[in-house]
Symmetry: C3
Subunit: 473 residues, 3 copies
């Protein structure tokens, strides 16, 4: 029995499954367009070998260690570095064994599916992780990683990735992207393969660590006087242009809420001064972020960068864990998120402008049918991003389609993006999405709500066309 069944994730009903298989067969080999993610550009710029199985597959994956932590495994024992210098496991094999011991916890989760996919499709393995085979799997993968065909660029090509976007802070010098610009590999297929995206939270969010220092550095990098509101906005324009030169076609905004504002100039200046001085209240910081979304929209109309809004995560919910291990350790928790009132100031100003394209994401599934589909189904400037983060999983993806299609159709959605730093899981994630979408379309065909030729066109759209078009790639 292979690790992956060829019919996995298709609906069980035989007729529906047969249709899903037919649709999937036509699109399964389409190139991967990965317009939003968090891979490390140095991998592609330097093309060095990945260090070891644990560093590659376990340690960058907060889905994995949050589950282990919930069941009593210490992050130190997974080799996650601490800020307090407590002893941390350094032997990748011991980390691997610890994960193997707890692997049954992942039954029914996407993590298990993704890792099985990596095992079989990338490393040619035929069984899933267990205590019994942990060492032999480790050895096999470790040996593979030494070989040239497992270097980042070789995998990139093997995965049939057409283009991948990474995400960088405005303060990032984009050194790796710069190196890639001068590397023939980057444009061997005509267009850039690895592009950046503009993620300005560190210089937009007054609550970000070191905000004032970040803004000062932002001024140095751009040659603008970022102590003034005008200079600060110019620094954004300048840096967005720099990012565009490094392939960026989008910006990305991870605010706590979707709130936007459209304030008079004088108020903007006052808020900005307060933000820089650090003497800004919680509400004012929220208002500043809100105003900045509208400023970013204005700039997008000028420079054509697509906006992505990813709201609704309570970042680093546990202060103890933040102090001990830093950000992005699995303690980001979704919150209720309101869009209809929150986006209104921005939409009142720019929502009807066809030059603007905003892709909305959510961690609050209740907003799909109630707010997001109705908004995206009428405002030309709005599109819906795919099921995100915790919902980038079979049931989450199904709910996304079932809750949005009847109101927003397919054309107001943007295909799939993987949003991951786990490079090897990218084909797995796109494959899950393709299978779930084909299964959903197959159900519509089986229920005679769609003709099969229409479904096939839609399968192509959802797999490839919509992402390229929405992200202007």
């Amino acid at each position: 029995m292979p690790l992956l069944h060829p019919d996995r994730l298709f609906p069980a009903d035989p007729d529906t499954r047969t249709i899903a298989r037919r649709l999937y067969k036509e699109i399964k080999d389409a190139p991967i367009v990965s317009p939003h993610g968090h891979t490390d550009p140095s991998w592609f710029a330097d093309n060095a070998a990945f260090p070891n199985p644990s560093a590659l597959l376990i340690q960058p994956d907060h889905y994995v260690f949050r589950m282990l932590f919930s069941q009593g495994v210490k992050l130190e024992d997974l080799g996650i570095p601490t800020h307090h210098g407590s002893a941390v496991e350094t032997d990748p094999r011991r980390i691997w064994r610890l994960v193997a011991k707890h692997w049954p916890l992942f039954r029914g989760t996407p993590s298990a599916m993704w890792l099985d996919h990596v095992f079989q499709e990338v490393f040619g393995l035929e069984e899933g992780l267990s205590v019994a085979n942990a060492d032999s799997l480790y050895d096999h993968i470790d040996a593979c990683l030494q070989r040239p065909e497992f270097r980042p660029r070789a995998l990139f090509e093997r995965f049939n990735i057409e283009v991948i976007a990474t995400t960088e802070s405005p303060l990032d010098p984009l050194a790796h992207h710069g190196k890639l610009k001068n590397d023939p590999w980057q444009t061997a297929k005509g267009r850039p393969r690895v592009v950046t995206a503009y993620r300005p939270d560190p210089v937009i969010d007054p609550d970000f660590e070191g905000f004032a220092a970040n803004v000062a550095r932002f001024g140095e990098l751009t040659g603008e006087n970022t102590r003034t509101w005008e200079g600060y906005l110019n620094a954004h324009r300048n840096r967005r242009a720099f990012f565009k030169e490094h392939g960026a076609t989008s910006t990305d905004h991870g605010h706590p809420s979707a709130r936007t504002a459209d304030l008079p100039l004088a108020e903007c200046k006052v808020l900005f001064d307060k933000a820089l001085s650090g003497k800004i209240s919680r509400d004012e910081a929220e208002l500043f972020r809100a105003q900045m979304l509208t400023e970013m929209a204005a700039m997008s109309i000028d420079d054509g960068l697509v906006m992505q809004i990813h709201p609704g995560s309570w970042r680093s919910h546990s202060p103890t864990m933040l102090a001990r291990f830093g950000r992005d350790k699995g303690f980001d928790i979704p919150m209720q998120t309101e869009y209809v009132g929150a986006l209104k100031p921005l939409l009142d100003r720019f929502g009807l402008d066809p030059r603007l394209s905003i892709i909305l994401f959510t961690l609050d599934e209740t907003s799909y049918s109630r707010e997001l589909a109705p908004l995206a189904g009428v405002y030309p400037a709005l599109k819906l991003g795919p099921a995100w983060w915790f919902f980038d999983a079979p049931e989450g993806m199904r709910r996304f389609r079932e809750l949005t299609t009847e109101t927003a159709g397919f054309a107001n959605t943007v295909g799939f993006n993987d949003d991951t730093r786990a490079f090897l899981s990218i084909p797995a994630r796109h494959d899950v999405s393709r299978r779930i979408d084909c299964g959903y379309l197959a159900r519509l065909v089986a229920e005679h709500r769609l003709k099969e030729d229409e479904a096939l066109e839609l399968a192509h759209d959802l797999t490839y066309r919509l992402a390229k078009q929405a992200y202007r790639l």
Copy 2:
């Protein structure tokens, strides 16, 4: 291949589908009871020919033009009149072609299904709209519309409509309904075929355009002094009686929220004076509407009109579009809606009274299982309206049943209503509802949660009996 498959919308599983077919066969030809909608009473009073395919099928349908607008089609090019006199397309054939060009946008949406149903069942067509056949379809439909059997009354009878309710403002003279009263067609089957419903928002909502003038006119129409609270309430009593004489069995209330209030008389008077003067705050306007729901409930206990509460839409979300095109142009967006606290003042006073019947609707599906089913499952005065507006679609209807039945059963729901101004789509909409309900019942039978004879009785209830009973028709 016919445009409509006879098994459409039934579950794909063969056994379940077979049961669904059996149930559907028994109820598919039941008369249509349409207790809530927005058709134009002049159609039935005057029985004139419909003007052309676009005016009949496209221009009254905000589901259609909101989707087109979201993808860059201008409303002017669809012939939607503007308030600013910008040039508007006047050739219905060009409008029709424009819709045909973008028709693939509607894949997977109820609009596509409804139009296909109209094409096949009303006009005898065998293919769906496309660029290739747009002209020939237009010509065929246009020719049909000239013929007597496509006049409103002929279609009314062909659709097997037993009764249909329209919705009118208290300021409406009900001229068409008055004309119908004296027309033998109206009562040819014994009971009135076309009835009105009392929709008092223009004289209840202080935020409604021209509220004070409306209330003054309300006084003139009723002969009451609507500058006083007592006179204003009397005007409602008077006008409700007038509507009852024109067949009304229900009132309809489209407030932003479900809030109700039960204030002392003195406060009511103060609020009313403020509302009339226009010097009313946002919160006070909300409170006035809240009080008026309770006043309407009191009058319903006296005169027996069923109350419908349709809250939770942010009307005309885009001020630019409101200014340019007016209300009801697809920019009404659902909001989070709370019921448990909101309805309490009204329920504390009247919720246990079996003479009162309130039908609750929602655009916030999260309230189905959390609030509405538990409330309707215990308060004698409450019933649940069907999946509404954006949710009047296959998945929306399925979720409605799955989320309400276990707590509220079927008897606390009221069957289907179409809520449409698109007259020709009425049989399509009722057919979708009948198929989805039969599919849901069939699943319960297939999972041995219901006997098939019980399911059959329920199918009749959901199709016909509950609507007649709940709306006292």
Copy 3:
């Protein structure tokens, strides 16, 4: 045709159903672990015959009489005692007939399924309740109840209950549990069969009827000075120890919200004094309850009692019904419930402590995927309780698994609990849960998302192991 079909509640798809059958066969006879419920301990202590069919099956079941009431049946006619001495039906046979007359209202609800299960499995009946057979069913059941094999202990053993928890107030003398301690039946299988749980709402909630008197009585029972904050906390410690001696392994907290607090000592004292004096605002009462959850967590770390938090019910929504009939009459209505911010003070202090175990329940299904699964999927102190109350039903249980598994897995859930005072329905409720879980697992197997051997282990976990482990039984 038997009343219960052997395949009931399994998915209709034949392959999936076959897998579900195989899984169910292996776990259907596992012992019942009932770690949270509201049966009367006197039943097991005294082992007296149950009085009559209506007193046993109808009158304790608010699911039944809320539905009947919603459709116009008076609670007096069901023999529910009033506080105002109005005439109440006293003939159990007439009550039974009244229920039979309205029994079709329950189609599609869990109540119908549970009663059918009791009829067939407990009383050997072969048909469901109807007007025609109401008397003969009544007579049959009534005759059974006179027989020794229908006494509480005999049923307990026949139901294969391993352990059952009841729920008591700290003011309860635990007389029945005390009697059981000295009864060899209680420990005939080695471990206690009937245990209590500590439900301190009457002495924690300032809004509870008679709060100050309750706290005074609490002092008398424990010998602590409960007029001081320290003495009050000591009284809890003392009483928790007393409950532990009577088998308790858990506490249970039914607050309106999930709010917690971690206030300075001085503020705690002030709040407590206000609560005792009755001069406490609504917000302060909420804050006091919030603080008490954190105090209870601190005590749980010391004494090992598992905490259950059951928030989100608006208790006794109708003041008229509360005044007339008292609490727990079907008028408790779910509300929107927020967890991420609400639990933070408690989690900041204790959330990473593996000695603490908190089981979270919800009546707001939107929190499953948005808040609860992400929280329980990372905090070691948190687990998810099963679908609760209105959601303890097939569709509710399915949604629970579909909405939580991908983020929290199975190990962060705690199996099933019945939460009922309807003793005879306990096997029915556990059977529904087992069937739905097997059907869900079977779907994962049929979609090749899980191997069947993994599903079988999980079926055991969900049926038996997780409940024993989570509740430390």
